[in-house]
């Protein structure tokens, strides 16, 4: 168990280094959508069809994106790892909660949380975190690969080797 954790932290550290290095100050979200002009006089339900209200701005799937941590969340991830390396997994988890409150949709944070869950031997939650990270990482190959590795590890930890292999065969893992 201790050994498993050590190897995990090594892995997490390597992974973290990648995250920290890739961090640049550009925003991680897509640009703000244009403002919707407000609609005319409004009635309650039901409404008449073909009312002039505009639809939300359409969006493109799989637009190239790159996820990274903001300075605030990066420092919290570092703190969380320090606590984890001292064996304070609860503290590490609480610190990651803070980061998630700041950037709830950042897949890198969900990967970090999944790694922590693996260290806590909660492979089931690690799997959920991995899947969620994978969904959030859509369009970012690098982050998808990290999420995929977490997911494969979480599946293996549950003895689901075949599913892990399938994940590793996904195009984003190459």
């Amino acid at each position: 168990m201790a050994q498993a954790y050590r190897s995990l932290t090594t892995l997490a550290a390597a992974l973290g280094a990648a995250i920290l290095v890739s961090g640049c100050p550009a925003p991680s979200r897509r640009p703000e959508p244009p403002a919707n002009p407000t609609t005319g006089p409004q009635s309650s339900e039901p409404v008449t069809p073909g009312s002039p209200a505009p639809s939300p701005p359409p969006r493109a799937p799989s637009a190239p994106r790159e996820n990274h941590l903001s300075p605030a969340t990066r420092s919290l991830v570092t703190q969380s790892r320090t606590l984890a390396s001292r064996g304070d997994l609860d503290g590490a988890s609480s610190t990651l909660d803070r980061a998630l409150r700041i950037e709830p949709n950042n897949p890198l944070l969900w990967i970090e949380l999944g790694r922590l869950r693996l260290a806590e031997s909660d492979a089931h939650q690690a799997e959920s975190c991995g899947r969620k990270a994978l969904a959030l990482a859509s369009g970012d190959r690098g982050t998808q690969a990290q999420a995929g590795r977490l997911l494969a590890d979480a599946l293996r930890a549950q003895g689901r080797n075949q599913e892990a292999i399938e994940i590793e065969r996904q195009p984003f893992m190459r």
Binding site: P31, P33, P56, A63, S94
Partner: protein
């Protein structure tokens, strides 16, 4: 004769002696019992320190959506005082958007932070600068220089105290440790209440004689001879009844207490226990809470006059109530100041200065949030024994966001007032409830349980179980999308339908205003909440599949498989609704709602932490398609009124709900930051005349408008793409071609029937992906710049 008398005498004597022995034994047993009570209760401090509850601290980081005014408001809420120089913890200085703050020592879930000087810059929208302003107060020169101006990526303010759970007999206290007791309070309280405290053994014979003498001379009770120890015993263990028996018990217990515990322990316990006032149903016990209640700051920050007022209050908290009887309170304070001066505990100048200042009362700080505390209590109950929670002085850290709570409270009270005034129903007041949560973590950030937001009582957010009406529809449409046989453009039939139910009766649902719309795309049927189309769709999918979908999303009690389920006869509490919608707001992941993040014991050791728990509840791609349809509800459908109340351009997704005859008005939905549900109705289930859009929607929108939440822009899964369809006919088109073109998300490469002469190929540059591609190019250019 004589023999008879003698034997009778002997019998009497035996009876008397044995009686005495029994009495003595009983007396001894009584004393042993009291001794036991005293030691047991006192030793483990198992009296009634309730768990102390904290709201979430405000996180500061560059870019955090907190304006300079927001920041100052929060500092005031936390009882920081404006001052110059910023010389001690609890003080801040503001110059324009620039703040110097001396943060107090604080215990967080994951760390103990020592006092720290920070420098913060904020503009009208957000935090723009954050740095350490100085080293810790005790840092040596070198460390100080090093710390100067050091960047601080993230810094949190103190977690606000929001109350206590399980306050026994409605008591509430902030427990002081010996180090927290100011020297002047220590000597002052002895001077005023029990001069011989350091000499006596719990009961003071001198004091009793003196009191007796004074009372005899006055002809009535003017003095009590009670020592601090006796007062403590009386407050801890005994009722208020005045009797000889109680007095004797009190004396014995006081003596036993002194035999077992040090003067220091007794004094500190006394300072924590003493009754200092009443705030509605809440009793104010202890100097820690008294200081917060009367002066809105910690005891350590009180000046001489403020301390003297609190010391004086002990004699009669209601008689000297400074809020009700300011003159009496002032006279009492000044008398205490005089005594302190005569005993040379303060100098003449200080006494005179303090006597000349106003009382310095402030409105009680912090907010009382009974509905949220109720949720905290229930979540704790799942994991703790009630006695443990009452006992050990735990610290409970919650996810309550006081700003969100204030926004929700205001939205409820203002809107209900307005709706009552517009009154469709005479007599009676509308009631309302709101819950706001963070969908990714499941953290509940605000709970309003009724229009009287500060009152305990029926908590509608947790306990009002009502039919959810059309709030059920997203589950039906999700189930349909999951089959793969339907997408947003699929045309379904809004036409009358009659069903024979199992009891033989005929069920003939109607649209809200009895229209029939005919063939409509699924996106429009949901946006305009068409009943007939939805019932037909639900029957095609199958009731079991719909009920199962609801359950996966978070409904705990299985829904009855009756066709009327499709129109939302299923009853749910606002809390259950928010759990279901959390799964929709969170890309198909159900996050278990949590109000309690962690519980620490008195020493700051974690007893329990409640971690984020997520489960995949529905396929993310299907949820994404559904969520995009739910944004049409707020732009084109029954939820259109939301736009006018939200910051311009904010994209939100949601659904209105109206139960039969408008008894319940619901709105549930989400932004990029929060998921929330609002309910409006009458407690006695009368007809309100309000649809979901008229009653609950304004409450929902006003709440979220205050929260500066981000637009709802989920990351599109790779299996789907955006297409333009006609809102009226569902045919593929382009904005150039149709005025009612709306963007929907459908599985990639779905074959859509095109509007003649329109379709994506006939126009250039206006298909959704092209538009988006241009925007991204523009954005990239901006970044490179």
């Amino acid at each position: 004769m004589a023999r008879v008398a003698r034997s009778r005498l002997r019998r009497w004597a035996v009876a008397l002696v044995s009686g005495c022995i029994v009495l003595a034994a009983a007396g001894l047993a009584w004393i042993v019992h009291l001794d036991h009570v005293v030691t047991r209760e006192f030793q483990g401090r198992h009296w009634s320190i309730p768990a102390h509850v904290y709201a979430a601290p405000l996180e500061l980081y560059v870019g955090a959506p907190i304006s300079a005014n927001d920041l100052e408001e929060e500092l005031r809420r936390l009882h920081y005082h404006s001052g110059d120089p910023v010389a001690r913890p609890g003080v801040y200085r503001r110059r324009g958007g620039s703040f110097d703050l001396y943060a107090r020592r604080v215990r967080f879930i994951d760390e103990q932070r020592e006092p720290q000087l920070v420098s913060i810059g904020a503009d009208a929208n957000s935090i723009v600068r954050l740095a350490k302003a100085d080293g810790a107060p005790k840092a040596d020169g070198a460390a100080k220089a090093k710390a100067e101006g050091e960047e601080l990526p993230v810094f949190r303010l103190d977690p606000p105290v929001i109350g206590s759970v399980f306050p026994i007999h409605g008591e509430d206290r902030l427990v002081l440790s010996p180090d927290d007791v100011p020297a002047l309070l220590r000597s002052g309280i002895k001077l005023i209440e029990d001069r011989r405290f350091d000499e006596h053994h719990g009961v003071d014979a001198h004091g009793i004689v003196r009191a007796l003498w004074a009372n005899l001379r006055a002809g009535r009770v003017v003095q009590g001879g009670s020592t601090l120890t006796q007062q403590l015993v009386k407050n801890y263990f005994l009722s208020d009844e005045q009797s000889f028996g109680r007095k004797a018990t009190e004396a014995v217990m006081a003596l036993r207490l002194e035999a077992h515990f040090s003067k220091e322990e007794i004094l500190v316990a006394y300072l924590n226990e003493v009754y200092l006032g009443q705030d509605g149903s809440r009793a104010i016990h202890g100097f820690g809470l008294g200081s917060e209640y009367y002066f809105a700051k910690p005891l350590a920050e009180l000046d001489v006059g403020e301390l003297a007022l609190l010391i004086g209050l002990v004699k009669g908290p209601s008689y000297y109530d400074p809020r009700k009887h300011a003159d009496r309170a002032r006279a009492r304070r000044n008398l205490v100041l005089q005594e302190l001066e005569q005993a040379r505990l303060i100098d003449t100048a200080a006494a005179a200065r303090a006597a000349a200042t106003p009382l310095g009362l402030r409105p009680p700080g912090g907010s009382y949030v009974p509905a949220y505390l109720d949720l905290v209590r229930r979540h704790l109950k799942r994991d703790y024994a009630e006695a443990d929670l009452a006992a050990a002085g735990l610290a409970v850290y919650t996810s309550l966001d006081l700003r969100a709570q204030a926004a929700a409270e205001r939205a409820v009270t203002m809107n209900l007032k307005r709706l009552d005034a517009a009154g469709r129903v005479r007599g009676g007041h509308l009631e309302g409830a709101v819950i706001v949560a963070e969908p990714n973590s499941g953290d509940v950030v605000a709970v309003v349980g009724g229009r009287d937001v500060g009152a305990d009582g029926f908590n509608r957010a947790l306990d009002a179980r009502r039919p959810i009406g059309s709030l059920v529809k997203p589950a039906i449409y999700l189930a349909a999308l999951e089959t793969g046989r339907y997408n947003a453009a699929t045309v379904i039939e809004d036409a009358p339908i009659e069903l024979k139910l199992s009891d033989g009766s005929i069920w003939a649902p109607q649209n809200f205003e009895h229209q029939v719309y005919g063939r409509v795309p699924m996106a429009r049927a949901l946006a305009e909440s068409m009943n007939l189309a939805t019932v037909r769709l639900g029957l095609d999918i199958g009731l079991p599949k719909v009920a199962e979908t609801l359950q996966r999303l978070g409904l705990e009690t299985p829904a009855t498989l009756n066709p009327s389920l499709l129109l939302g006869t299923v009853e749910m509490t606002p809390l259950e609704v928010v759990q279901v919608y959390t799964s929709l707001a969170n890309g198909g992941y159900r996050a278990r709602l949590r109000a309690v993040l962690a519980v620490l014991d008195e020493q700051g050791r974690p007893l329990k932490s409640f971690k984020v728990q997520i489960e995949e509840a529905a396929p993310p791609a299907a949820v994404y398609q559904l969520d995009r349809m739910l944004t049409l509800v707020t732009t084109r459908g029954t939820g259109r009124d939301a736009a006018a109340r939200l910051p311009r351009g904010t994209v939100v997704a949601g659904k209105t709900g109206t139960s039969s005859d408008t008894r319940d008005s619901w709105f549930a939905g989400f932004t990029g930051s929060y998921v929330s549900v609002a309910w409006v109705g009458y407690d006695d289930n009368r007809v309100t005349g309000l649809t979901g859009a008229m009653g609950a929607l304004p409450v929902w929108a006003d709440t979220l408008a205050k929260l500066r939440s981000a637009s709802f822009e989920p990351v599109p899964p790779e299996q789907v793409e955006d297409r333009w369809i006609g809102f009226g006919d569902g045919l593929e088109t382009s904005p150039a071609c149709s005025t009612d073109a709306v963007a929907v998300s459908v599985p990639k490469d779905t074959a859509l029937p095109a509007k003649p002469g329109c379709g994506p190929s006939s126009s250039t540059g206006t298909s959704p992906s092209n538009t988006m591609g241009d925007k991204i190019k523009e954005w990239l250019k901006h970044i490179v710049h």
